[in-house]
Symmetry: D3
Subunit: 275 residues, 6 copies
Amino acid sequence: MTETTLATVIETLEHAYDPAHAEPWDAVGLVCGDPGQAVRRIVFAVDPVAAVVDEALEWNADLIVTHHPLYLRGTTSVAADTAKGRLIHRLIKNDCALYTAHTNADVADPGVSDALARAVGLYPPYRPLSPIAVPGLGLGRVGVLPVSMTLAKFAALAAQGLPRTAGGLRVAGDLDRLVKVVAVSGGSGDSLLGTARAAGVDVFLTADLRHHPASEYVESGGPALIDAAHWATEWPWLAEAAERLTSALAAKGISVEARVSDTVTDAWTTTAQRG
Amino acid sequence: MTETTLATVIETLEHAYDPAHAEPWDAVGLVCGDPGQAVRRIVFAVDPVAAVVDEALEWNADLIVTHHPLYLRGTTSVAADTAKGRLIHRLIKNDCALYTAHTNADVADPGVSDALARAVGLYPPYRPLSPIAVPGLGLGRVGVLPVSMTLAKFAALAAQGLPRTAGGLRVAGDLDRLVKVVAVSGGSGDSLLGTARAAGVDVFLTADLRHHPASEYVESGGPALIDAAHWATEWPWLAEAAERLTSALAAKGISVEARVSDTVTDAWTTTAQRG
Amino acid sequence: MTETTLATVIETLEHAYDPAHAEPWDAVGLVCGDPGQAVRRIVFAVDPVAAVVDEALEWNADLIVTHHPLYLRGTTSVAADTAKGRLIHRLIKNDCALYTAHTNADVADPGVSDALARAVGLYPPYRPLSPIAVPGLGLGRVGVLPVSMTLAKFAALAAQGLPRTAGGLRVAGDLDRLVKVVAVSGGSGDSLLGTARAAGVDVFLTADLRHHPASEYVESGGPALIDAAHWATEWPWLAEAAERLTSALAAKGISVEARVSDTVTDAWTTTAQRG
Amino acid sequence: MTETTLATVIETLEHAYDPAHAEPWDAVGLVCGDPGQAVRRIVFAVDPVAAVVDEALEWNADLIVTHHPLYLRGTTSVAADTAKGRLIHRLIKNDCALYTAHTNADVADPGVSDALARAVGLYPPYRPLSPIAVPGLGLGRVGVLPVSMTLAKFAALAAQGLPRTAGGLRVAGDLDRLVKVVAVSGGSGDSLLGTARAAGVDVFLTADLRHHPASEYVESGGPALIDAAHWATEWPWLAEAAERLTSALAAKGISVEARVSDTVTDAWTTTAQRG
Amino acid sequence: MTETTLATVIETLEHAYDPAHAEPWDAVGLVCGDPGQAVRRIVFAVDPVAAVVDEALEWNADLIVTHHPLYLRGTTSVAADTAKGRLIHRLIKNDCALYTAHTNADVADPGVSDALARAVGLYPPYRPLSPIAVPGLGLGRVGVLPVSMTLAKFAALAAQGLPRTAGGLRVAGDLDRLVKVVAVSGGSGDSLLGTARAAGVDVFLTADLRHHPASEYVESGGPALIDAAHWATEWPWLAEAAERLTSALAAKGISVEARVSDTVTDAWTTTAQRG
Amino acid sequence: MTETTLATVIETLEHAYDPAHAEPWDAVGLVCGDPGQAVRRIVFAVDPVAAVVDEALEWNADLIVTHHPLYLRGTTSVAADTAKGRLIHRLIKNDCALYTAHTNADVADPGVSDALARAVGLYPPYRPLSPIAVPGLGLGRVGVLPVSMTLAKFAALAAQGLPRTAGGLRVAGDLDRLVKVVAVSGGSGDSLLGTARAAGVDVFLTADLRHHPASEYVESGGPALIDAAHWATEWPWLAEAAERLTSALAAKGISVEARVSDTVTDAWTTTAQRG
């Protein structure tokens, strides 16, 4: 086994998650770091935030691979007078690169929503909920439960399969309704609400749903809805991506250490309820 | 005390909630019903949904006043082949009018966020978080707690003051942080995140916050955040609006029966959590 | 012969006038009414105006089929404080549905301009003046007169074939010019002026032409122009649509009564001329 | 009395019809001709069309002043392969300039609609129907009839005051309705329909009205409508403009011959009616 | 040999330079003149400016063919109170037509950049730098030098091949760099900078380059750059176009006199340098 | 004299060049670096390019102040796989900050064009060529020469006052024309061509002028034009900005070393001319 460079790691990652498949508005790829630098240790995480950078630098990581871009919209400054700029300074000074696989990982096969589908107990094969122009790829996944069960029971099952967050899962629709065909989409899924309805699924599990779309969806007799933490729906993918990268590198005779961050980066740290 | 017409009720409502103060994209005012019809019973509710119409028709209401528009974006059909069209048919056939006071109620003095501020324990006077061109009016409110307290304690206090919903309140930020100056905004408040930060408040309580804005807000050292159910943040206003209308009508020698719907129209009816 | 429902009538109408063929900006289909209601009597009319609704309700019609949409642009209110809202209230209270076949009837084969072509004396077969993507369909029709005749004679012939309106037909171009190939387009045809010129027709008959386009058209040596009342150019289609619907229903063993409104809904009721 | 140049004539015209008051989308001023050329004979006309140029060149005119622009939208060619380019070639070769006063003449005081108001029998003073930012100026005029009269009678009166065109005037609304306050606007007035309704006038006389706006206007209980030929509503202004120019030049000791074209340039030359 | 008309000359020119191949924003074709007029003498020039019109009228030319449009953006006036309007008046009064072949000549095969490629010493065959949808056509040309040479030597060679202008050629990049594959584009080539880099050429010669694009290009390690006078890069095409037209006419038995204007219409007439 | 921090240097710079006065599309301020770091040595330069960074790092500079932004349009990556990203990595690793004062320095009083006006020999006072909303500030400057001189002589004078670049100055217009009132604008001045003409100046000196605007300007009888290298027109400001900063810091008892980069960063390094 030999050492490798960032360029080789990126080439391997992009074989699995082709940047050409990212949405036009997305910002994927290398954010900082030098393609020629050596890479021994890699951290996989959902969000490029300070706690994740702390964890990576303590472990002497050479690379952080995140799902979310640091700068989704362009910036004209990386000065250390903003939180994001401070991260850039820390990363560059510590020779730790940052790389993003976002919507290209969402649409990949297997991708973010495959891992989510498996985590919440759906049986493969999964089909894309919203296919893109490239055959076989798309956003979200549709799968089936091994048996029909009530919405309440599926929600409990899904909660067990996802990492714990303060708010857990929120459920909309008749709890006694039997469900079997399920759509899932990691991250903010409101743009797929209509697609999930048209697909005839029994329930749609995603994140970041707001009152009006959710209320109108249920009111109009659509599928039931389950809203999980954005972070929790994408975290299951990290282990799979890490495994996929290390295996592919190993096949080239390259050894790296990869680690999935277990820092919960969901924004909400606790809940409060009327007594 | 004499009977009255819908036209008179509307005139009285619009004295309190001037439609001219609504946002340009909003759709406030009479949705169905005839200005000449008699009005004896009025239901106040947050959402114009089937459960609310059921409640109103059972009580033989002549008018439902809601905060949310039925058709925020225009429609070219009210046929009974959609959930909204079925409501229109039921309302017209039962001579029950529907009237909306939305962003004009948000910016009014007192308005939706005044009731929310009081409900979560803030001391008056309240000042608008985001003033509009009309002096004294604006979106959101800033107020102070009677004493400094931890974020955790304020969240518990706020939860007691709001109606119960499945998900309760979600909290982001250091739970031991002391808070005293608080911004609140009924409904979806993400457009006011920057304003609340610039206002220097300790915590901002609103609804419908998504992962990315919330995470970036906390990451950049902004105020703490509390996210409540959209419905729960606007419900406190209903009683005040009902009282304000009946008092103003009584002053004209007119008697109507007003009632606040206690149907919880939050989309989420339960939660699930990893054991 | 059995009774039928609105759903069945709509399905039959849409076999003839496919809503998928309507322009993207158009608003066709059911405007009010319940798909499950029974339908016995149907009125066909060009415009959904008060006089037409009067006529329909006096006859106890269950459905009005019009060419023009009531709400071409979306509305956020159907309250009875506008003329259109008053129609919605009257229709719903009297269980009379309203259905629109507009640009999908224009492009259908046969469609609105086929009836117009026949009314003004053109010989079939007619070909679309402006084809759409669906083979065989399009806006306007081109046909030929049985013999060449002067523009003046053709205008007189066309006037005899169309229902009487206050303003009659207006003619631009050399009255002695011989014409044989004719383009017609029911309703406002100014967007087709260039198409008619490119098609090499001798005269173009349509409605709602304004001074500048008409003047520039004639000035640049284009075809002659005849401008009729918008209503008069679309009325000939009503009888054909009614016949087509009742025949198709009869073939399914269903009997309905259909009637073409003869209320002139042209805006102009009289003319005045310098003595 | 001395000869004068085009520059002096333009300066005098623009004192009456300031180009700065034209709409931003308009194209007023000198279209062809040389400011230094001598001007002895001037023709005033509504439309810059071939028949008007024929008339001007036969009379050896040095300048044609029209209300309508030749090129309202810009052109990249004046080649003689189009009708408009042929006019440019004839005008330049014959040293005949072309000048346009369009929306600056509409809003002037007195302007196009003042002449129209007087022609149809309204009593001064007239006030602008739609004022612009410059005090006293605006589009359209509102005036009163000396006595209330039926709509039918006013239409007959207006027809007598305007030049004869093939189609005459078209009238919408109750013919027995009494009218006294009248709005007029020379040319296409549909953008002013709402303004005329808000102004509370009894009848609005203008040109180029189409079926849908006219029908909805009358259906919603607005003022009555009279639609005249576009040309006929603007022709009355020509004599006034000619007089105004020649007087102003005479006051400077300059003599020119001015003539109003009596060529009817309405596009419609005859009508046909069902027998 | 017989005389010919402008229509025939245009038809012949457009066989070589098809107006359908011009960019959508371009304005090519006949600017003034009458298709029926006789044509005996034709001047070819880059710019339709006063000095070129002087030269043409002195020679009694019937037609000027220019590369640049007189009115690239539309005009609403050709009055003689602007420089361009004065040209129109002079041309029409002297029966001299003006015709433009612009981007249709750029993309033609052979076209403007073929002549440029030959002038600066490139060996054919040339391929389009930026192909358009029509096979074989495109903007710019890529060709090779007979031998590799330094950038400094190629710049000297190119300078010898182009007509002299005050500023000559400006060169960016390492002067000792060896170059062999060269891209050229007549006129303003900054929109093709990225294309030239992607094409892997050694040097790109064009005109009108500004500081920022040029600096970023060189800074990022792109090809070397040579910036010539806009006029100088397009002038070589004139002789070829003249030859092509006269030959094609001769093949039809038609004789015309054609002449290439040698008036330098580069804006810059001299330079100044720190001593 | 004491040491200082980047924050203090920025505060002092922004007193002279207020970021609030920059154009809305501009990107001024700190690009990289930490406000808390110490600053002892500062380099002033026009362009943030590799040669300037080399110079700064060799001198152990803590800060580079440039006129041009590194990222005028936003970037989503600063990875070292682009020329700009490599600069960011080198700067951050070497604790050298980068700060930009662009259009805020252009409009300042004194600003970039004041230094240019003085360099080319104009007499103060200078007035803004294109004032902005803040009184006294604006783009470009207008000044006068001590005596009238020919355009040729002024061009020679200006060439002596500006730093040498390969292309020197290019001149358009009659070389014998006498000039006295002069407009100058550092950098690309084509957006000010109309303003300079309206200001009635005799000559306008700026940079980056292209063939079409320059040719039309001269053709229509406007002022003469002088086009210098973009870099050369902005370089004179650097010394003044450096002096202004060090003086203001000295007044606070702070000592820094400032140095003006004399690296020529004009893109063009040589010229070639036909023999």
